[in-house]
């Protein structure tokens, strides 16, 4: 059987390339062009003047800060099944379960805390959740605090975050 062999051309072997200087000249021409363009009009540089300008291109697949979703009656959707804490590769989710008294479900978390200093924002907790109770669609990408304790998000904080996309309530628990 005749094999098809694609010969990739090799550059840099002939005499002109071995002089280096023509290639260096060409490279310098490109960088100098960029330098002159940006020096003559620095506002044409396509960057964000963060923090005055905030990013506008956060898509619905962006993994921002976590939130706990609500049912349609604005109660917590989580049933404290510990799936997320089990799936978490960095062991940053702490859950204490308690009995749910309002009759909607049997269990709910009494304490649900995420240590965002440990979290690697992999999104496995979102994938693992059977109740669509934890999501990362808040679009929050920066967390600020003065002490380590400030970065441990408690249940109330996680519930207070809202999604920035259309889906607000848990799809699994009505």
């Amino acid at each position: 059987m005749k094999q098809k062999i694609k010969v990739v051309p090799r550059y840099g072997e002939d005499k002109i390339d071995r002089l280096y200087l023509p290639a260096i000249y060409n490279g310098m021409k490109i960088t100098l062009k960029h330098l002159i363009r940006n020096v003559s009009d620095s506002n044409s540089v396509d960057t964000l003047e963060y923090p005055e300008e905030q990013p506008t291109d956060i898509t619905d697949r962006y993994r921002g800060l976590h939130r706990l979703t609500h049912r349609e009656d604005e109660t917590i959707a989580c049933v404290a099944c510990f799936m997320c804490a089990t799936a978490c590769p960095s062991d940053c989710i702490y859950i204490e379960a308690t009995t749910r008294e309002d009759g909607e479900d049997e269990k709910m978390p009494q304490k649900f805390a995420i240590d965002t200093l440990e979290c690697v924002f992999c999104g496995y907790c979102v994938e693992a959740c059977p109740c669509d109770a934890i999501r990362m669609d808040t679009g929050i990408f920066s967390i600020i605090g003065n002490s380590r304790e400030d970065f441990i998000l408690e249940k109330d904080q996680l519930l207070s975050h809202r999604g920035i996309f259309k889906e607000e309530h848990s799809r699994a628990r009505k």
């Binding site: 280096y20 200087l21 260096i24 490279g27 310098m28 490109i30 960088t31 100098l32 960029h34 330098l35 940006n38 020096v39 003559s40 009009d41 620095s42 506002n43 540089v45 396509d46 960057t47 003047e49 005055e52 300008e53």
Partner: protein, 429 residues
């Protein structure tokens, strides 16, 4: 020694120290901003003192404060000879600084019949001084790398050493060719030689008289300063940070600043030997002195035009985009700087007008000297910018490629250049 000689030598010494030391923060800033703008970023532009950002230069001073406040850390495996660990960056720094001190910033100024050099160290063997003292800088790198007791440091310093050996040869030989051409080892007479013309219309700069020698000189000096594309001695991708691996805080900063001083020195040597030094092209110092009133009138026209464009550029670029609400007092800064620039222009215009109306030899001599210093600084900045541009354009050479280039290309080419130069000079004589 007359009073004038003492004053001129003190002024030129202060000028040399300022040009070498004050250039460090400016070069660090220029490198970071330049890198950013080349890569379509902005670079550091936020740090300010009372709203004055000066394009971000203030960032360098914040960096210095940070480096001074950092912990003085010594690796525990370095038991003895810690003082050498501190001394070695200083050797590099001081060698680069001393090598800068023989560069003439302007032509000899004649005050009351006495010719006084504008050179911090007024020696007439500047080339030898530069070659001797500039090579000492490598010793600091050997000591630092060897004393660190670290294989990466040792590799880095051995690379620096072998590169120094392979590039000192083409550098020295190309310098000999220049010495033959200019018939002098004094930087000042080299510049004086270059103030003429060749073929009637081209400035007699080294790059035009000796193109091959000039290219070899520039490449070798790039290698001497350990900068990209010859930064194999600190190749992060292979040997962490080379000889600087175990260095922290101000000790590291000494190496870092030494690199910038060495780059500044190399730029100064290149422009002095190859690009006409402090001279404007086509005109010599005697011509400038004898036609001073025309020169002053020309400057009176040129300076306001330059300042007008600088202010326009500043007002355009020292502004935030319309999407940003707070402008961080940039408009105020641009206004104050414009007023300062206009005030300085008016002052210079008045002084020039005074010199035209009541001509005096002393006044015109000082004015021509200042003009040459400004020319020197502008050329120096352009060449430093060239260094920066090269660093952010070219990838790092592999270590064997560096040696290959040095021994197989530059050394034979520089020998050829030397032979051709010698034959031509003997033939002309």
């Amino acid at each position: 020694m007359t009073l004038a000689a003492i004053v001129v030598s003190i002024i030129s010494f202060v000028l040399g120290a300022l040009l070498a030391l004050l250039m460090i923060p400016v070069l660090v800033w220029l490198e970071r901003r330049g890198a950013g703008l080349i890569q379509d970023r902005l670079g550091p532009n936020r740090t300010n003192v009372g709203g004055f950002r000066l394009g971000g230069v203030v960032q360098s001073f914040a960096d210095v404060v940070k480096l001074l406040l950092k912990e003085e850390y010594y690796p525990s495996h370095i038991k003895r000879d810690r003082w050498l660990l501190i001394i070695s960056p200083m050797i590099t720094f001081v060698a680069a600084l001393l090598a800068f001190m023989v560069i003439p910033f302007a032509d000899n100024i004649t005050i009351a019949g006495e010719s006084l050099p504008i050179q911090p160290l007024p020696v007439d063997y500047g080339v030898l001084w530069y070659l001797a003292i500039g090579a000492v800088g490598a010793i600091g790198i050997f000591f630092g790398g060897w004393l660190s007791h670290n294989k990466y440091s040792l590799l880095g310093s051995s690379r620096a050493g072998s590169m120094m050996i392979s590039y000192e040869l083409p550098l020295g030989i190309s310098v000999i060719a220049f010495v033959l051409t200019y018939n002098s080892i004094d930087f000042n007479s080299m510049v004086a030689w270059q103030s003429g013309t060749v073929l009637g219309f081209l400035p007699a700069w080294g790059i035009i008289v000796q193109p091959l020698g000039a290219i070899i000189l520039i490449i070798s000096l790039f290698a001497e300063t350990n900068r990209a594309p010859f930064s194999v001695s600190e190749g992060e991708s292979e040997i962490v940070a080379g000889y600087m691996t175990e260095y922290t805080a101000m000790k590291f900063a000494m190496y870092f600043m030494g690199e910038y001083v060495a780059m500044n020195t190399a730029s100064a040597v290149i422009i002095t030997m190859v690009f006409g030094g402090y001279q404007l092209p086509w005109v010599s110092t005697e011509y400038l002195l004898s036609h001073f009133s025309y020169l002053a009138m020309g400057l009176m026209v040129v300076i306001p035009i330059v300042v007008y464009f600088v202010i326009g550029w500043m007002r355009k670029n020292n502004a935030v985009r319309p999407t940003v609400i707070s402008d961080g007092s940039r408009e105020f800064e641009a206004k104050v700087l414009s007023i300062v620039l206009v005030g300085m222009t008016i002052l210079i215009e008045v002084i020039l007008l005074y010199l035209i109306l009541s001509p005096s030899t002393l006044g015109s001599a000082i004015a021509v000297t200042l003009l040459q210093v400004v020319t020197f600084v502008v050329k120096l900045m352009i060449f430093n910018l060239f260094f920066i541009l090269v660093r952010w354009t070219l990838p790092r050479f592999r270590y064997d490629q560096v040696q290959h280039l040095g021994w197989y290309y530059l050394l034979p080419l520089s020998l050829l250049n030397l032979f051709v130069t010698a034959i031509v000079i003997v033939g002309v004589a």
